[in-house]
């Protein structure tokens, strides 16, 4: 692993690392809003490596820059400086169009709020991006099969035809996880995935995230300010005022 103090992540990881090479590498990433005296440094020379299959909790108080860092890693936001490599693809110089393609194919997102398209069923929420990307014929058939398979794995087969409003909070979050995994990404980014859930459901969701990521060898970065959830990660990285702190092995916070 590496954070501001680079070190070998595998030394701390108890997870089964199925993929080869880092899923995410941030090198000297800086994000500055505004210019001159009004400049605000949201992320300050952050370096972080997340190996394939590794689950990293990014812990920090509100306004510490954790969501900004997550957004940069996911291609939602361009860094002012530094290098961002996801699944072997350097996205530092990508155009907006290339970033859109990157987000569709290489990375999965689960956002803080419940995040499904309200007028699409659970199954359609998984299929939507491939449909909007123009899936036809065999690709479409494969996508439908994949959606059914994912929903089955997530225990949601019986909910495939339900709209988000007909699902419980936990079920919605499971569908969101399914959608994030749909494109078999190298990296899934979770932004406060349990903030809208009670503790019990939150833990169930974290267990699901953990098991799904490990079974697929997919890396994950989970942004949270809830220290009760960090033990589901292989290690915890702290961020304060845009500066990444020392990494902790899983369970260090507990």
């Amino acid at each position: 692993m590496s954070s501001s103090n680079p070190s070998d992540s595998s030394a701390h990881s108890g997870a089964a690392v199925l993929a080869t090479g880092p899923a995410l590498r941030l090198d000297g990433v800086r994000k500055v809003y505004g210019t001159g005296e009004n400049a605000i440094v949201a992320v300050d020379h952050a370096s972080l490596t997340v190996d394939g299959g590794e689950i990293v909790a990014l812990l920090g108080p509100s306004g510490s820059g954790k969501t900004t860092l997550l957004s940069i890693a996911g291609g939602l936001l361009a860094a002012t400086e530094g290098t961002v490599v996801v699944g072997g693809e350097d996205i530092s110089g990508h155009s907006p169009r290339e970033l859109t393609e990157f987000r569709r194919s290489k990375v999965g997102f689960v956002f803080q709020s419940v995040n499904l398209v309200p007028f699409l069923t659970a199954e359609e929420n998984l299929l939507v991006v491939s449909e909007l990307a123009g899936a036809r014929g065999t690709v479409r058939k494969q996508a439908r099969a994949r959606a059914k398979e994912l929903l089955a794995e997530l225990g949601l087969s019986h909910r495939a035809g339900n709209l988000p409003a007909q699902l419980s909070g936990g079920e919605r979050q499971r569908v969101a996880i399914g959608r994030a995994l749909f494109n078999s990404p190298a990296l899934v980014l979770f932004d406060e995935p349990t903030s809208a859930l009670d503790t019990k459901i939150g833990e169930q969701v974290m267990e699901l995230i953990q098991s799904e990521m490990r079974s697929r060898g997919t890396a994950a970065v989970i942004v949270t300010h809830d220290t009760r959830m960090t033990h589901y990660a292989d290690r915890t990285v702290r961020i304060v005022d845009g500066v990444l702190g020392l990494g902790d092995a899983a369970g260090d916070d507990h």
Binding site: T100, F111, V117, V129, E131
Partner: protein
């Protein structure tokens, strides 16, 4: 298509109501247009559906048939203008007649049999061939103007009643929204004398001109105006369009239609702008997880097209139902071209007004997904 249809399927009431509103408004447009056509035909169908290429008015009449008389010298001069093949008198007057056992106002046109000015839309019977015969407006057949009916001009004191037998029916030949008869000019003269027994001479209202083969009626009309003092030559279409009553009716309807043509797309555009604001969260989410803006814009435009076309289908159905009732006797009929043209214009305008919603979609910043502001279910 996937996103557009999925959303519409799950929000049938919302989109159905909009399609219904668009349908009612398009129906009003179609109905108003048909009403205008019907009214115009009732006002000047007789001018529109007669055989003269050019009508020559007295210049002082200001294109008003009722106020026009052409003097014999002028008639002779008109016949001599280059491009004129035949110039014949055409008289017009409103008379009180006895038809269907009741007195009513009717318009009588008198033309030279075989010459220009004859009705061109005969649908039953034949044209007059002798004195005392007439073709009547088919719309008034049931009012005592059917084939075989007799129509008697009620004379003034000292005058002699004159009677016409209806031998044919022609459609859309009404004038001034009254039952209308076309008879020979001699019959018209007799009718005139019945109500004005002291008249020394019955002059034609206008001169009906047939131009020589290949001549441009507009050129001939202008040549007559230039060559014959105190006259104004108008092509048949000019006589229709510039008829004083018609112009003001068209102007009034144009204002109403313009308002409708503005309201329909504005309602549609506003609806889609509101819907776009309402689903900003879903759109932001889709952009964040890798949907290009193009498919989202296409989805919006597909919905606009679907709503307008659904509305147009509904409007056509309503219009058809209204036409079954005859539109209050104005002869409203469903014709494909006006329906298609109206639908096309409304569709284009609706797409244009939906550009505000398109702009909103294009301005979505996927980063908003991380703030939670745009990602609510």
């Amino acid at each position: 298509m996937f996103l557009a249809l999925s959303e519409m399927r799950r929000a049938k009431v919302r989109f159905g109501l909009l399609a219904g509103a668009v349908g009612l408004l398009v129906f009003l447009i179609l109905f108003q247009q048909a009403l205008l056509t019907g009214l115009v035909n009732q006002f000047i169908g007789a001018l529109k559906n007669q055989s003269a290429d050019v009508l020559v008015y007295n210049a002082q009449a200001r294109k008003n048939l009722e106020g026009s008389i052409v003097l014999p010298d002028q008639a002779t001069a008109i016949a001599a203008v280059e491009g004129v093949a035949v110039a014949a008198p055409l008289g017009e007057g409103t008379f009180t007649v006895l038809a269907g056992d009741e007195e009513q106002d009717a318009v009588i046109f008198g033309y030279e049999l075989g010459g220009p000015g004859a009705p061109t839309t005969l649908i039953e019977g034949r044209l007059p061939e002798a004195d005392g015969e007439a073709v009547a407006s088919s719309r008034n057949a049931a009012d005592g103007f059917d084939i075989g009916d007799t129509v008697t001009v009620v004379p003034n004191p000292g005058g002699t009643a004159t009677t016409f037998t209806v031998v044919g029916l022609a459609e859309e030949i009404n004038y001034s929204v009254a039952p209308t008869l076309f008879t020979d000019f001699a019959g018209y003269e007799t009718a005139r004398r019945a109500v004005n027994p002291d008249a020394t001479q019955v002059l034609p209202s206008v001169i009906a001109v047939r131009v020589v083969d290949g001549a441009d009626p507009t050129v001939v009309a202008d040549a007559i105006t230039a060559a014959v003092d105190g006259t104004e030559g108008l092509t048949r279409q000019q006589a229709v369009d510039e008829s004083p009553g018609v112009a003001s009716v068209r102007q009034s309807f144009s204002v109403i239609l313009l308002l409708f043509y503005l309201v329909v797309p504005l309602v549609t555009g506003l609806f889609f702008l509101i819907v776009t604001f309402q689903k900003a969260g879903a759109l932001t989410l889709l952009r964040a997880i890798g949907s290009p803006a193009g498919p989202l814009v296409r989805s919006l435009l597909i919905q606009v097209v679907a709503v307008v076309l659904s509305g147009a289908v509904l409007a056509t159905g309503l219009f058809w139902l209204a036409s079954l009732g005859g539109g209050g006797g104005l002869g409203i009929t469903v014709e494909p071209m006006p329906v298609l043209a109206t639908t096309l214009v409304v569709l284009v305008l609706a797409l244009l007004t939906s550009l505000a919603a398109v702009r909103r979609v294009l301005r979505i910043d996927p980063i908003a997904a991380t703030t939670g502001a745009g990602v609510q279910v």
